[in-house]
Amino acid sequence: MDFGLSDDQLILQRSARDLLAKECPPAVVRRIAEGPSGHSEALDRRMAEMGWTGLLVPPASGGLGLGMLDMAILLAEHGRAAVPGPFLFSALLATRAIVRGADRRLKKQWLPKLASGECTATIALLEESGDSAHPAVLRSRARRKGAAYVLSGRKLFVPYAHCVDLLITACRTSGSDGPDGVTLFLVDRRASGLSIRPLETVDRTRRVCEVEMRRVEVPADQLLGRLGGGWPVIEHLLDLAAVGVAADGFGGAERVLEMAVEYAKTRQQFGRLIGSFQAIKHIAAEMVAEIEPARSLVWFAAYAHDALPREARRASSMAKAALSEIYSRCANRAVQIHGGIGFTWEHDVHFWFKRAKWNELAFGAPAFHRERVAALGGF
């Protein structure tokens, strides 16, 4: 029985925290958030140099070959620093889509580049319905034409489509409304017929785009996995996204608690530090009481992906449902403890507040995941 992090994992955690404190302090988050692209090439490069982009890539393809628990530890640090950029979508989701779904040739083509940071990727799943849970809502189509597929349709909420190199795109390839009609393609962001419009988002640390595909030709060898075999990969990606976002939320919740406590130790009202009032203490203590058990839930969900695959889906939904709400509540309370200054653009806490809300709503809001917990638990 050992429910804890290994020495290597503690080192990973420590080095990530140190690096991000230095390279991605709130001033940098603010600069990126207020800028047009939503990411920093210098920061992305630095993270690639650390090997983080190759964390999940097998050593044979130039990566570190680590597991989901390691990734969760790293993403918690990203959440703590509110790192903007495509990392979660590229290094976790797109990379795992290829590791899990692609044949050897595609792996050989893309994984070394993803690992080194030479190439970044994202996933383009959602469409106008905004529903990720059901294959029947997919309208984008791909038709075979000689040595290529021709893709048409419109994707929404595609993270960082405007700056990555590769889009992993879900299209319908047969008349079936069911899961068997869905296929994944690797689409070059610069392909002709593809137009990408960034959307104005509330959480400026996460950028999403509208992606229009007008008869985009994709070479047939860029089909990921089997024809009609996309759905199980998508489901797997949604589970991983749930854990990844939960881990980010855990780190973010810890950070907003620290910000609130720090403020409560310096701000005076009625001639006393506000942190000496029980009204403030109890709010802060409630944050601790939510965050501490939640940490274990995130670790377990990530560990389940590495070691207990049969429990992974339920555990992922548990972590996502819990951390969605805990992070949002903690961010809320942190703003409350800051009072008026917390409501300003000038103070940093709103970046975390908004990220918490994005985390809550993306990849299935809490009610969706609770229903999954109920269904998988046989309620």
Binding site: M1, D2, F3, G4, L5, S6, L69, L257, V261, A264, K265, R272, L273, G275, S276, Q278, I280, K281, H282, A284, A285, E286, V288, A289, E292, P293, A294, R295, S296, L297, W299, F300, Y303, A307, L308, M318, A321, A322, A367, R370, E371, V373, A374, G377, F379
Partner: protein, 401 residues
């Protein structure tokens, strides 16, 4: 991270299961509401603790010379893991819990840290074997959350303390053999510095125990009055006027954390059974989307406390300080248990308000009973608000005041 048991631990787990299957009587369920009012049941429960002790399943981590199994060389980690297995299996088997739990978990560890050699030899083996039942003399009518304001006095007269005053909410005092008690020995000192920790024989002349009826209808706890009670000075634990530190050590002692979360898991399983079998609108309650949301919410909280306890056990095995973990546990677990019971009552609907002796009562009336009982645990042992103060002040370093 590795959640598996070693082959030796798995083998031990099988042994414990076999032993419990043979020894837990089907007719004697774990917690019978109101059982502490019944002398016959108390005798049975003492007998049960003795049996567990003889099987080697009680306080395994204590030193061998005082009745435990720990050797000076250090098999402590192994024993801690085994004790955890025993505790989990006991809950799963619905075995009665230890009647002498106050002795085993509170006064025993305190004596090992602060007791004299004579006190250790005199009390520890009997505590383990269930021969001596202990109660805790802390709260007073005027000293609840502000425990250090207590006023029960102990004046020194020769080789004795003469104790006068009153304790309240004293669980098990009606049948306990001994009390560990906080008394004021220096009324002139600041409140935390004039308190001593003494051991009182409950058969001493001058002690009156008066039962208090709880909202459950049980006589679970008591008022205890002291009138010129003579307590030998040899029963002082630690230094005179250092009782506050001694008492605090008790609270921070290794607790067996898994027991309580296993219990929470079981309560949740009970709720789930109820929701699957009770029907509303022609369908099981568990098919109702709103109910499923609330059940899932509890399931998630229960599960996170399970892993949280694994993490704390790991910290304990590595000798890392638990910090404020015990306060987080107390706060979260007690409120979670109460929330589980509250939802069970909602599932039961009208049946949820039937008294346990009533006709038509469901699950022997355990849900309304536990609904009330778990409310008491949110208050007892440091209220939720006191736990929040501890978390904020000791955990987060927010200023007192």
């Amino acid at each position: 991270m590795d959640l598996s048991l070693t082959p030796q631990e798995s083998e031990f787990q099988r042994q414990v299961r076999r032993w419990l299957r043979r020894n837990v009587s089907r007719r004697s369920p774990a917690e019978e509401p109101g059982e502490y009012g019944n002398p016959k049941r108390i005798a049975e429960l003492k007998q049960w603790q003795r049996k567990l002790y003889e099987a080697g399943y009680v306080a395994m981590g204590w030193p061998r010379e005082y009745g435990g199994q720990s050797e000076p060389g250090g098999n402590r980690r192994d024993l801690l893991m085994r004790q955890t297995i025993v505790n989990e299996e006991m809950v799963k088997a619905r075995a009665p819990s230890l009647i002498g739990v106050m002795g085993v978990q509170m006064v025993g560890p305190t004596l090992m840290q602060y007791g004299t050699e004579e006190q250790k030899r005199r009390f520890l083996p009997k505590i383990l074997a269930g021969e001596q039942i202990w109660c805790q003399g802390y709260s007073e009518p005027g000293s609840g959350s502000d425990l250090a304001s207590l006023t029960t006095r102990a004046e020194i007269a020769g080789d004795f303390f003469i104790v006068n005053g009153q304790k309240v909410w004293t669980s098990n005092a009606q049948f306990a053999d001994w009390m560990f008690c906080l008394v004021r020995t220096d009324p002139t000192a600041p409140k935390h510095k004039g308190i001593s920790y003494i051991l009182i024989d409950m058969k001493s002349p001058g002690i009156t125990v008066r039962p208090l009826v709880q909202m459950t209808g049980d006589k679970g706890f008591n008022e205890v009055f002291f009138e010129d009670v003579r307590v030998p000075r040899a029963n002082l634990v630690g230094e005179l006027n250092q009782g506050w530190q001694v008492a605090n050590a008790t609270l921070s002692h290794e607790r067996n954390l898994l027991g309580s979360t296993t219990r929470t898991q079981q309560m949740f399983q009970g709720l789930l059974r109820l929701a699957r079998t009770r029907r509303r609108g022609g369908k099981p309650v568990s098919a109702d989307p709103a109910m499923r949301q609330r059940l899932a919410d509890l399931a998630i909280r229960v599960e996170s406390m399970k892993y949280h306890s694994y993490r704390q056990l790991t910290d304990l095995l590595h000798g890392r300080s638990p910090g404020i973990a015990a306060s987080v546990n107390k706060l979260v677990s007690t409120e979670l248990n109460h929330a589980i019971c509250a939802l069970a009552l909602e599932v039961l609907g009208d049946y949820g308000m039937l008294e346990r002796r009533s006709r038509h009562v469901a699950d022997r009336g355990v849900w309304p009973y536990e609904f009330m009982f778990t409310l008491g645990l949110i208050i007892g042992g440091g209220t939720s608000q006191i736990q929040k103060n501890i978390i904020a002040e000791r955990g987060l370093g927010l200023p007192r005041g």
